[in-house]
Symmetry: D2
Amino acid sequence: MSSTFGTLFRVTTFGESHCKGVGAIVDGVPPRMALTEADLQAQLDRRRPGQSRMTTDRKEQDRVTILSGTENGMTMGTPIGLFVANRDQRPGDYSEMSRVPRPSHADFAYQTKYGIRASSGGGRSSARETIGRVAGGAIAEKWLRETFGTEIVAWVSSVGEIDAEAVDPLAITREAVDANEIRCPDPAAAERMISAVAAAREAKDSIGGVVSCVCRNVPPGLGEPVFDKAEAMLAHAMLSIPATKGFEIGSGFSGARMRGSQHNDRFVAKAGGLGTLTNFSGGIQGGITNGEAICFRVAFKPPATIGLAQETVDFEGAPVVLEAKGRHDPCVVPRAIPIMEAMAALVLADLAMRQRMRAGT
Amino acid sequence: MSSTFGTLFRVTTFGESHCKGVGAIVDGVPPRMALTEADLQAQLDRRRPGQSRMTTDRKEQDRVTILSGTENGMTMGTPIGLFVANRDQRPGDYSEMSRVPRPSHADFAYQTKYGIRASSGGGRSSARETIGRVAGGAIAEKWLRETFGTEIVAWVSSVGEIDAEAVDPLAITREAVDANEIRCPDPAAAERMISAVAAAREAKDSIGGVVSCVCRNVPPGLGEPVFDKAEAMLAHAMLSIPATKGFEIGSGFSGARMRGSQHNDRFVAKAGGLGTLTNFSGGIQGGITNGEAICFRVAFKPPATIGLAQETVDFEGAPVVLEAKGRHDPCVVPRAIPIMEAMAALVLADLAMRQRMRAGT
Amino acid sequence: MSSTFGTLFRVTTFGESHCKGVGAIVDGVPPRMALTEADLQAQLDRRRPGQSRMTTDRKEQDRVTILSGTENGMTMGTPIGLFVANRDQRPGDYSEMSRVPRPSHADFAYQTKYGIRASSGGGRSSARETIGRVAGGAIAEKWLRETFGTEIVAWVSSVGEIDAEAVDPLAITREAVDANEIRCPDPAAAERMISAVAAAREAKDSIGGVVSCVCRNVPPGLGEPVFDKAEAMLAHAMLSIPATKGFEIGSGFSGARMRGSQHNDRFVAKAGGLGTLTNFSGGIQGGITNGEAICFRVAFKPPATIGLAQETVDFEGAPVVLEAKGRHDPCVVPRAIPIMEAMAALVLADLAMRQRMRAGT
Amino acid sequence: MSSTFGTLFRVTTFGESHCKGVGAIVDGVPPRMALTEADLQAQLDRRRPGQSRMTTDRKEQDRVTILSGTENGMTMGTPIGLFVANRDQRPGDYSEMSRVPRPSHADFAYQTKYGIRASSGGGRSSARETIGRVAGGAIAEKWLRETFGTEIVAWVSSVGEIDAEAVDPLAITREAVDANEIRCPDPAAAERMISAVAAAREAKDSIGGVVSCVCRNVPPGLGEPVFDKAEAMLAHAMLSIPATKGFEIGSGFSGARMRGSQHNDRFVAKAGGLGTLTNFSGGIQGGITNGEAICFRVAFKPPATIGLAQETVDFEGAPVVLEAKGRHDPCVVPRAIPIMEAMAALVLADLAMRQRMRAGT
């Protein structure tokens, strides 16, 4: 279980790295919305490996097919089946895995949980699982955009020890983000980040990073008090992405160092009602969106697969030296961007649906 | 909706700060477990305000009553109803709220969402809502302790700019945590934290902080891959606690600055199977517990209610200067400890139940 | 688990027959709806035992208290806690139960499932559990009535072999139903039913019956295709009521004996759009309400508790002759009426909420 | 939403009659179970149209492909994606549907609900949707069979006014059911049923029927008290099948005509514990299985699509005479058998999983 995310707008994913393909069923999509494969492909292309020196060389087309739920390019209100075939399968690369659990991979945990695991690739812990999320999230995002004008943009704000200069969350665009291959809108920092990734690759090592995300034009009133607060749903969504280690919203951990008189977001009159002067709250107060931009950051660890020799033990506890072969991302943050945008869209669409039922009262 | 947390072990809370009381229904509690009010009261007492100079002076007994689900001190497998009466109601303190949304409070967001809100206190956003969680979590924790020997301990690791020295997560106890009123097991840091809180109170201001938590003796194999990863459920649970701004597990945001060769947790032979030499993963790999201690940290913002004058606007947008009166916590982190422990227990009990169905296979 | 019913408008019940009380948390109630205890008490009074010769003599007040979720008689959009204290506890009546599972009761099944069961009364299988449903259903019904003008009326259509004459589902009222103590609007049949119940009581036996229900002014478009069809949700709700053995909607089992040319409901122009000339569909087509009256019937078995001597065995398999003492309903159908109305209201309110999210599209 | 059924063992279906195909994701399947397409195909073949004179002539292969979740013929504990391509699409047959809602079809209800509907075929209300259920149910059934020895057999017990002689639910087999094309194990009645269906076809009409089902070797203790009683889940599952109008378990509606002294199932010592002498309860007491055979019956209406001319109105209310062309089942009950068996298996597997979490206590 747990391959389903969402209450009303819900995506259920299937597929692992080396079976016939991956996909999703997206249920709860409103009827009478124009939708074709082209609406989904752009974000899938941004997620796809092999786009730049930053990512693995594995070449896959990742063309999505809509299996059901639309007719003549319109949604019917019925579940939308999505499928992307797996093409490039090289099971031979993974043979050592059968007796040695790779450090900081899911091998040991899966084996303990299920008593079995995929003999090649990471099974459901593979990055390919996120294809279903990105495709489903693209539908959610299109609906949010057309209904509320919502814009969701994520960007790389740090790689290793290199931090980007502050980015204006109210102005940043996907075009600016995609202007370089590391997807950091601070060009000077981007250069250094690209070098850092290249150095990690050169050293047969990997490197972590942080991705920031903003959601603009989110209507106020979304988020369900108590357990399904908007920030709790976002945290859930983000920490479900492979390789994530942390989430912060608004002021985040730096807010814990502040005083209330600094941190409180005072209200001011704005066009269309009240707004806040500052946004340490990150667009959410009491678990409910307040109409300001939702801003959050997610930490990604360095990928666990590295070419460097690692001392570890096999499943029987015997010492082993492991050296990964094959193709591996030295840094996941550029490709994490469309995944984070997709998960944010899924959360917001679901919360918007949940709020709609109160609309008529 | 969303007053329910959990899939199999689930708690549903009700009540706001100034109605007849607060409570919870805990469903999915295994039968034949010894359980009386005394099992729940200890953590409720730790959560209760008025215990020290650190917290509000509001005096409440917060005595819990088990309404249903047990007979002769044993659980029956049926839902356990829990109730705590509200005693100390002073609605007069909150009169200005009706026309002025308090900065960084939930007033504006609730009004926008529901078109109505509690005329006094914070309604469901009040800290009293967490009583139901603490009571429900105490049941979960008792079951985990008796079934697996699980121990959950949280402590204050920073207040404002003051950081505690590193604490050994494998050794820390609740007794050590409760040795001082700020609940920081580093005595020197604790003294400075207490002073910092006192200074904030003196200044009619408030101050933020960070709480760390460790869960020991958690069986490996818990956590549902993809959307309900163990860390995703923990992040969801923690960000659902009022005033939280961030969550990190294991290496957290500092892991994003590391290389894979530093960050990978190499396997070693341990009594009873494999373990890891380091624990940057924080006890979870691929969303599944690996048997190592689960370690995470949660950021709390400074409380929004401060006595200092604040320039803001009323619901109509007219400028107003707001000065909170009455009793308010200048710092929530000491009282957040039993709430975090309760939410962690609810997550782990639910995941343990979800894993049990695979046990016989 | 499973003490919760509904997706968006959801009720979670707690309590058994002989603990402190029973109640419910109703989540998803729209805000800004006038609501006081008086709105709930009427249906609780109709459910209460001891109203007539038809039911057990047990006297209980069953006064409901709203614990949370309203202020000044208005709902806040927050969960509504409901509680009814247990007053009349006579555990002594049930002593033999500890070693003999009563035939056709839940004793054996509970013991097998949980390894423990309530030492007195039926625990969660007691009819008192339905108090929480009736109270929660009264809120759902009030919202449906105020929003759509929905009317829900159930009546006794048979007791044992005595069938009432056909009742006009478009005209029947609760007043007409309550005109006699068996709650059958056919006065001649009602007389005979009352005699049949009296005869069963006299014979220390019990007797079954059928309750019909109509829901009028239900908007078209409710019901979720595939698994949560409106009739599937109603069947689920009705078969969750103790002592039920069957459910049929519209033509029901008699429809299985018909030809399509007889059974098809032809469309005709009606005020406000299309309607159907006949209503063999029972107001639902393809799982979705069509605006016609929803008509269904539910079969209730004769109560299992009878005073007549019964040959059976104890938990060890040794022969025993069992004779129930104490107070018992010889026929449950009159009291089942408000429970069925409550469950129907819960289903329709939930489906209406689920449809609302599509309203704006 | 609502394309998902089940809590722990859950199936999510997608696809309509005339898109690329239909399928399902089955989540919660235990790991390390042998599973290939051959395990699913048998029941799909029994469901497939075009097998006999009894059903539509439409020829489809309905070959299922497992897209994910297995490796080397073993389940991995991960979601199993299933797909069946649509081959035989004749959209031309349905042109009149665009302006005339077919009587007792879902056209009007879907249009009202969604503001759009499939231009050909029934969309999600098409019988092809049940392919995903049958495939998913076959997995559930295999697991139940291998784990508990559970056997599920359904058979036609009436067609129109023709009733089969009583069948022994403890002895009936699928082989006996499939011995004739109407799938009624009473050969004399089967002959008359076949003639009745032929007569209905001849008359361009259709005819209803009843299907009985037995589940043997179901462990005691399954079913969640209160809302998710075993019979409530079965009723939900069965009424979610297209064209169903009623459900009864054990004594059903005839039980409502009985006295308690007749109806009570007295306990007797049996090998392995207690059993009951009679089984009016239908294998379930207090919502929980008691180890006896689960017996229930489902009423199916005559198919709405008939060749006979029908007077009705179009969407604007103007009178129209409708005559269906093309291929249509005059009677659905033979093909309903594998669908009912699948839904029963899904319910029981889910309840078994839910009970497993209590196993260790």
